[in-house]
Amino acid sequence: MPVAISILPEQQLAALSRTYREAVARKRLRATVAAAVFFAALVIAAIGAEVNLKTFFTYFGNFVSYFDRIFRLESGARVWTDVGEWFWGWKKWLSLLGETILISYVGTLSGAILAFGLNFLAAKNTAPVAWLRFAVMRFMEFCRTVPDIVFALIFVIAFGLGPMAGVLAIAIHCVGALGKQYLEIVENVDMKPVEGVRATGAGWMSCMRFAVVPQVAAGFAGYTLLRFEINVRGASVMGFVGAGGIGQELIVAIRKFYYSDVSAILLLIIVTVFMIDIGTGWVRGRLFGADRRR
């Protein structure tokens, strides 16, 4: 079937294609300049970070063979040929893993309770006083920007070595991170129930308890579970600075080149993180599923 394609007159076509070419040229120029700036930044960064490709290529074999070595026992046999020898310290490691999860749990829960108390003071729609809102916002920003391991370094000196410092570090970081997520949920609630409760003559506390909390509870729980999962990863390295958990064993194994221990502990951590991941995913599914059914 022949189709009629209308062809524009020569003059109009020339004008159109000129505008097109100009637009494309402008876009190309912008992309080139952006790319040039980016590459310049990369080169400067490479000099700043002492990137040395020669060392990298000389030692890259080490990186590959490192993974070969961590899967070998002292006798030179592959680790999976003798699982008992590979996981020789499983009793100690499992109890340390339990401690890691417990650090994360206690830290997350105490951080969540604090964040729960603070976020109503900081949300735009529920804040009782303006200066308090400003102060709480700045405090939470501080808690979330300073990495938890820096808090752990300081707390280890103040509270002594051990899991307590790790718990407190995770709790503080959690106040900042969860506080912000909670606050965003609270700022998006429906304000009509709040007006309804206030119309009965209730005070600020009752407004929060009966109008805001029922709307946000499921969202809060979801974010808290997610944070718990993130904190398990975080708690697994708290031991690097002496703040408890499996990290202590891991850093010793890496630093002292106990190769098969490194792979065993890493494997345990990865499996634990997977399991926590799946478990919290299941709980979250139940929570939001129940929410939808209502």
Binding site: V146, L153, I154, M164, G244, F274
Partner: protein, 282 residues
């Protein structure tokens, strides 16, 4: 207003039985969960050696430290700190870029609409998950064993751990891309590579660019801490000053980190708006 009359209540009960007579299991669920959570919390406090005495002693120590931190003062090492900050930013930029460059081809392999075969996709996904399951600090320790102490180990550590996250995020971006444009390319006679280049990439690149910028932000934070295990940057200085109890320098370094992170947040926020517009800010 008076209370409900008793016959009113009976009438209400008859009309809404599901409100008044909830089964025991659903009425007990919330208190039981709360009791379990609280019990585990208390057990945790005991198992992790919490005690009021230690808490008080630690808090009074901490109070002293905070008093000693004021005012923040870099002493004579300001140039060193500025150089370390530059090193940290360099580590974040290079690490993120490297991770993105290497993750892009791998993420194609993990995307369902590009590699339909499950047998091939599954190992790639599990591999990315395992890489992600290991913390950046652990990767830093491994790389220190390979290339020695210094910022280069930090770059590689950030690159590897982000490689896992990027692989997952990019492949999700590819999976949510619109099929129609790819089919359009095929209809006009393009081959598989053309489909990816002209059908998928234009849809996916802005999303990816936004994610990369977002990770650059968060990597600035990670790069401040990998120095703690010896992989360069401002964390090295920070850990050192904490260990020798130079609190004024510590507070100055923390302030520096706060300012730098805020600045990077602001810049990358602007860039993200410029690249993807308001619609898809992560």
């Amino acid at each position: 207003m008076t209370g409900l009359q008793s016959h009113d209540r009976d009438e209400l009960k008859a009309r809404y039985p599901h409100v008044f007579d909830r089964p025991l299991s659903s009425r007990l669920a919330v208190p039981v969960v709360i009791a379990c959570a609280a019990g585990l919390f208390l057990f945790g406090l005991v198992a992790l050696e919490f005690s009021p005495a230690r808490m008080l002693a630690g808090l009074s120590q901490l109070g002293w430290f905070i008093l000693l931190m004021i005012p923040p003062d870099p002493g004579s090492s300001l140039p060193t700190y500025l150089a370390a900050m530059g090193e940290t930013l360099s580590i974040a930029l290079l690490g993120t870029t490297l991770a993105a460059v290497f993750a892009l081809p791998v993420s194609l392999l993990a995307a369902r609409n590009i590699v339909p075969s499950n047998i091939f996709r599954f190992p790639v996904r599990r591999f990315l998950d395992s890489v992600r399951g290991v913390d950046t600090l652990i990767w830093a320790l491994v790389w220190i064993n390979v290339v020695g102490l210094g910022p280069f180990a930090g770059v590689l550590a950030i690159a590897v751990s982000d490689f896992g996250s990027f692989g997952k995020l990019f492949s999700e971006a590819f999976e949510t891309a619109d099929r129609n444009q790819v089919e359009g390319i095929r209809a006009s006679g393009g081959n598989a590579l053309h489909e990816i280049r002209f059908g998928l990439l234009p849809q996916v690149l802005p999303v990816i660019a936004g994610q990369v910028l977002y990770f650059f932000e968060s990597n600035t934070r990670s790069a401040t801490i990998i120095g703690i295990v010896g992989a360069g940057g401002i964390g090295l200085q920070l850990a050192e000053q904490i260990r020798v109890l130079e609190w004024q320098k510590v507070s100055f370094l923390i302030l520096m980190i706060l300012v730098a992170v805020a600045a990077i947040d602001w810049i990358s926020g602007k860039l993200r708006f410029a690249i993807i517009g308001r619609r898809a800010v992560v």
